[in-house]
């Protein structure tokens, strides 16, 4: 449960970042952004756990 919540949180933050940084918002940008944000969110969780477990 916490895992899903954490990934969701990362995903929301990263998608927001993407939306702020691109020049024009259109559906394709949105699709690519949210997909890569999901991948990055999973990576971010893995990375955070690796640092926390050290």
């Amino acid at each position: 449960m916490t895992a899903v919540l954490e990934v969701l949180l990362w995903w929301a933050a990263l998608t927001g970042l993407w939306l702020v940084l691109i020049s024009t918002v259109d559906p394709l940008e949105l699709l690519v952004g949210s997909a890569s944000a999901l991948a990055a969110a999973l990576l971010a969780r893995v990375g955070r756990r690796a640092v926390a477990d050290r």
């Binding site: 970042l17 939306l19 702020v20 940084l21 020049s23 918002v25």
Partner: protein, 144 residues
Amino acid sequence: MSTSDGWLAAALVPLLALVPVLWRIAYGSPGDRLIGQNLTSLLAGLVLLLAAQGFHRTSYNDVALVVSVLGPTGTLIYARFLDVLPDSRLVRWTALVGVPATVLPLCVATGPGRAMAKLLLIGVLLIAGSVVTSGRGAREGVTA
């Protein structure tokens, strides 16, 4: 292409401030050089933000964004190799005074919207990077 001379003249201020920084990097002690490197990326970020507004090309802000990420990263890498991360009041105060003095007028000129959010993000990144690499808490960063 139309340019606004006011913004470009403002960009000249941090650009000229790079001249003494270059002197310090070229002739200083290792600690001085690291402070100089930190200060260079901060000032370059400010120059790029002001120049982007002066040229009326908001996409130039991307360069400033990259500087605000790469600059502090580079400083930390050098700190690792040189084994010093000096506590620099100069960098901290330049960031805390210079970045708001640059970003807030730019925000007013841009008006509300996503462009303003991006400007604020760059400003926050510049301040955060400078504070992390110049502050008292920086010592843990080297040993970790």
